[in-house]
Subunit: 195 residues, 2 copies
């Protein structure tokens, strides 16, 4: 029998979302989100003011294999590109029959999910909300509040990330501010999957 | 392709640990813990005073199958049987090569883990601690504080529970209060696994 992996612990700062210790920190800036916002002019204008940090991820260092669980905290900063909220890139799992759990610690946001057949699901999150991303649903989160939106995610070690599916086709819906509140709108740039 | 499972959300009360909605609530009382505490006389004395609630679990209603994730909150009440802290029954997973994550929300406690070969691992938990129960490790939690010890657990849908292994053999160590603080001691009633 191979050597057993030892149990371990990390500490989440419940206010800031920071994971400690953490060797794997990912920062996504505005320049990493090229083509993901509908309003290309607003995107360029904002980028000219500086390459803003959109979100930050602290991820645990666990083997990406079946039976393991990977967890990470995500901090999405408040802000908009035009009237579209700051958001994550979004992804499907490479192993599409795997779920993911999102547990909101601070702030408020929305979780947008999409199936390959075009179905859309949409959940509002606030502190204490646990959202269940069922198997096969691509997922993206947006900060719709005026503070940091912070959540813990847990997913199977062998789930993997497919960002390409979202980069190529976008999401069928976008979330924009209209009249002071978030509104879900059709994304005219979305490329539907072939039937 | 079969019907997709829809995403959904629940709400955790961050103070009380209660999950809402929740159709699956488990209560473990002192009478459910027969034979699990070393001091049989203290156990009988306490039971004579009433069948105390030791811990309560709120579990999400998700299919127990590969690719899904099951989560639950556990509230262990403060107290002791003799000098041994209130604790969960403890279990191994039926599918032993699966991990589990414990995220402490309130109070303080300890997580005791044990491998089949007799190795023991032991982690202290407080609000914000995420403990990683690596694959193959049996696990039990104790409330070592004077308030409710509340944590969220996440495990793979096909992990399953093997309580029998702990009921039959016990854990190699017990956690007792000595001089006002928790001390890990050898459990003289532990039956080691055959080599």
């Amino acid at each position: 029998m191979r050597e057993l992996m030892r149990p371990f612990k990390t500490l989440v700062n419940m206010k800031s979302g920071q994971l400690n210790p953490c060797r794997h920190v990912i920062e996504r800036r505005l320049s990493d989100m090229k083509g993901m916002y509908l309003d290309a002019q607003a995107y360029s204008r904002l980028l000219n003011q500086g390459d803003k940090l959109i979100y930050k991820v602290y991820e645990v260092d666990v083997a990406q294999e079946a039976g393991q669980l990977i967890y990470c905290t995500t901090i999405i900063y408040p802000g908009k590109v035009g009237n579209e909220y700051f958001m994550t890139k979004g992804h499907f799992h490479l192993k599409e029959d795997t779920a993911e759990i999102y547990f909101c610690l601070q702030g408020e946001g929305h979780l947008l999910m999409q199936a390959r057949d075009g179905q859309v699901s949409f959940l509002q999150m606030k502190s204490g909300t646990i959202a269940y991303v069922s198997p096969y649903w691509g997922h993206r989160t947006m900060n719709t509040g005026d503070k940091e939106f912070i959540f813990l995610a847990v997913f199977p070690g062998d789930a993997g990330h497919n960002y390409r599916a979202v980069e190529d086709r976008g999401f069928a819906k976008i979330l924009v501010e209209e009249g002071g509140s978030p509104q879900l709108k059709r994304n005219p740039k979305y490329v539907a999957e072939p039937e």
